[in-house]
Symmetry: C2
Subunit: 403 residues, 2 copies
């Protein structure tokens, strides 16, 4: 194993988008993103891997230049970050996987089943209002409307994409990823606090939660807070508080459900005016789609009962990870003499998108210190980072060379 | 009575600040405000009243040019409006009172007790973050910090004030309002819906509510909505909803209390992030200061119980109107063969400021159609507008000529 290389590269990638606040901003198609994808190509080339770039700017680094239509073992994560995010989210899996594939290729030559590392162009949705565009393109789940999206400066997704792909063409060929995914394995930091509070170093992800997000609206009649009698009021805030209380009471009884009211906007939002409208965003997640659907049903009944309305703004189905791949990760963890456990992911990942395209997928998590992510404080102990990469490498070896 | 004059003038003043949305914007010291105060001087001069302007730009129009240190009967309201407000708030009392004083003076000559109409410079606080600056200056309740306030464009209160007073000096002398207020009578639209739903045309105001406004803050720990376990969360929104529910439950039991949560701001206010802070503005009003204090005490207990904090941003004491002046208004209403009733004001007024300086004060209300005010739809039937002015005129006649 070449432990130093991983840490050295992670620190080098941290500089590509380093912010004055100690975080990293490397959004899709920005300058640092472009430098980072070029650096990825250089690393892969050093190991003699065969690289190409797809039309989204995702880079593939394979153990063979003939992977068209073949079933390959794909492994990787995403190159982009949120604004002022952490130094590990995405890039940890990107660097670990290209090193693993490169080192296995260098040491053991061409595997029985082709290995392909991948650095997805985008996952976070922090520049344009679309997420997972890299893995959605790969698995034919991308809506063409994405290409017309604009960022805050008015730059379009499509123009920025074209410019960067043209740039990347200078360092690697452009190609169409028309291989079949036999397995997808993604190594990632947990971003929550379960592993950090557990003796385990490694988790195999059993499920990625289904998620529904509702924008709920209560309506009232705006009027003067001092001159309007209490009895005649139609107060959108009063309704919203009633609604939220009922939602909390109802959902708090549902085991395993994670739900959050993170956003509220009142209109006109003035201290001495009765609100005419209150918008509330409710996010609900569960690993069991039936429970999620049941929670959603309860919420919509409450919404109807108080005379509010809603719009479903996010709807992602609960996604179990492939059972055989989970067993493979557990075996490899034991072989590496590490403590592993099973847990589900409360956050969405490229592995969810890929699993939803019927490709067997699995994720390997390492602990996030204090469970924080998407902030400059995001961190994982070096021991855990190296442990995760060792497990990934062993899984890939077993799948590609021993099957 | 000269009924046409009142309606003609109200329509003329409506043009000074008319908005494309059908409302009126005439904020203190803006161009239309200046035109309107000059127009007021011209009206007063036509009746032979003695005008002067104080350092705030408030115009006084008296039946004598020697009112220094004398006890006078003061009557008027404010010249400014809120942004895109109605055509009657303030200006109805301003025009009615100068016409009443002017017509009485013209017909009956110098009264036993001097009458003085007033057009206060400012009451609404819609340009600078300070209210009642006209009446507060007159009654020595103005904080000098007001002069340093800036509007949204960065213009200072003091510079704007100076410029406009210099302009007004072209049409009327500048003076110091060092008279004693024997009585203050203010005619105003109700702005609520009590009179509109009653057979009465006229109300005498018995009390102006005391008001407390609290900015309440709950604190949490911001984290990912998907990866953070429910059990470990510190959710500022969960606390805020709990707090608001308890406040509603507690205050809804208090008879006569008007309370409103009109404003809420969550941080960071993102759908998939647990809020770290929620700010809530609570406005509570009651005519009985003891009940208001009791409500405040209950709210602070709830705030402490849920571990929130608060800041008191508004604190105005409940103000009873002078009983003898109320009786005078009731007599005059009967003499005019109009139906009157007593009610309290849920909104603050210059009469509250003046009453708090120990000057006997009273208000006369006319109905607001549908109870709406501070919007372009603000309206009062012509019959009611004229009725209110007749009552005011009779009150002034009895107090000034017959006592």
């Amino acid at each position: 194993m070449n432990d130093e290389k991983l840490m050295t590269l992670l620190h080098e990638f941290k500089q590509l988008g380093a912010t004055s606040m100690g975080g990293v901003t490397r959004c899709v198609y920005d300058d640092n993103w472009s430098l980072a994808q070029k650096k990825y190509v250089a690393i892969a080339n050093d190991y003699g891997l065969y690289c190409f770039c797809d039309k989204m700017g995702t880079i593939y680094a394979a153990t063979s230049d003939h992977i068209s239509h073949k079933p390959v073992i794909l492994t990787g994560s995403h190159m982009d970050t949120v604004v002022n995010g952490g130094w590990l989210d995405g890039i940890y899996g990107v660097v670990s996987s290209v090193l693993a594939v490169g080192q296995l290729f260098q040491k053991f030559g061409t595997p029985k089943i082709p290995l392909c590392a991948v650095s997805f162009s985008e996952e976070e949705g922090s520049r344009f209002d679309a997420t997972f565009t890299g893995s959605r393109y790969l698995t034919h789940q991308l809506d063409d409307a994405v290409f017309n999206l604009k960022d805050r400066t008015g730059a379009t997704f499509n123009q920025e994409r074209q410019n960067r792909v043209t740039e990347l063409r200078q360092v690697t060929p452009i190609g169409i990823p028309d291989f079949k995914i036999r397995s997808y394995i993604e190594l990632h930091i947990e971003q929550g606090n379960t592993l950090d509070q557990s003796p385990a170093n490694i988790a195999v992800v059993t499920d990625i939660v289904g998620q529904k997000r509702l924008l709920i609206t209560t309506k009232g009649i705006s009027n003067h807070a001092g001159t309007t009698q209490m009895s005649g009021r139609v107060d959108a805030m009063r309704k919203a508080v009633d609604l939220m209380t009922k939602i909390y009471s109802s959902l708090e009884l549902m085991k395993g459900l994670r739900f959050t009211i993170g956003k509220i906007i009142a209109f006109p939002n003035v201290a001495n005016v009765i609100p005419e409208k209150v918008d509330i965003a409710l996010d609900i997640r569960h690993i069991d789609q039936n429970v999620l659907d049941q929670a959603f049903e309860q919420v919509t009944q409450i919404i109807n009962a108080v005379g509010a309305t809603y719009r479903l703004t996010t709807n992602v189905v609960a996604t179990p990870m492939d059972y055989q791949l989970q067993q493979q990760v557990i075996r490899s963890t034991k072989q590496e003499k590490l403590v592993g456990e099973r847990l589900f992911s409360g956050a969405g990942h490229d592995a969810q998108v890929i699993a939803n395209s019927k490709a067997p997928s699995v994720m390997i998590f390492v602990p996030s210190q204090n469970g924080v992510s998407h902030v400059p404080q995001e961190n994982t102990a070096e021991f855990d980072l190296l442990a995760g990469q060792r497990v990934l490498k062993r899984v890939l070896y077993d799948l590609a060379y021993c099957s």
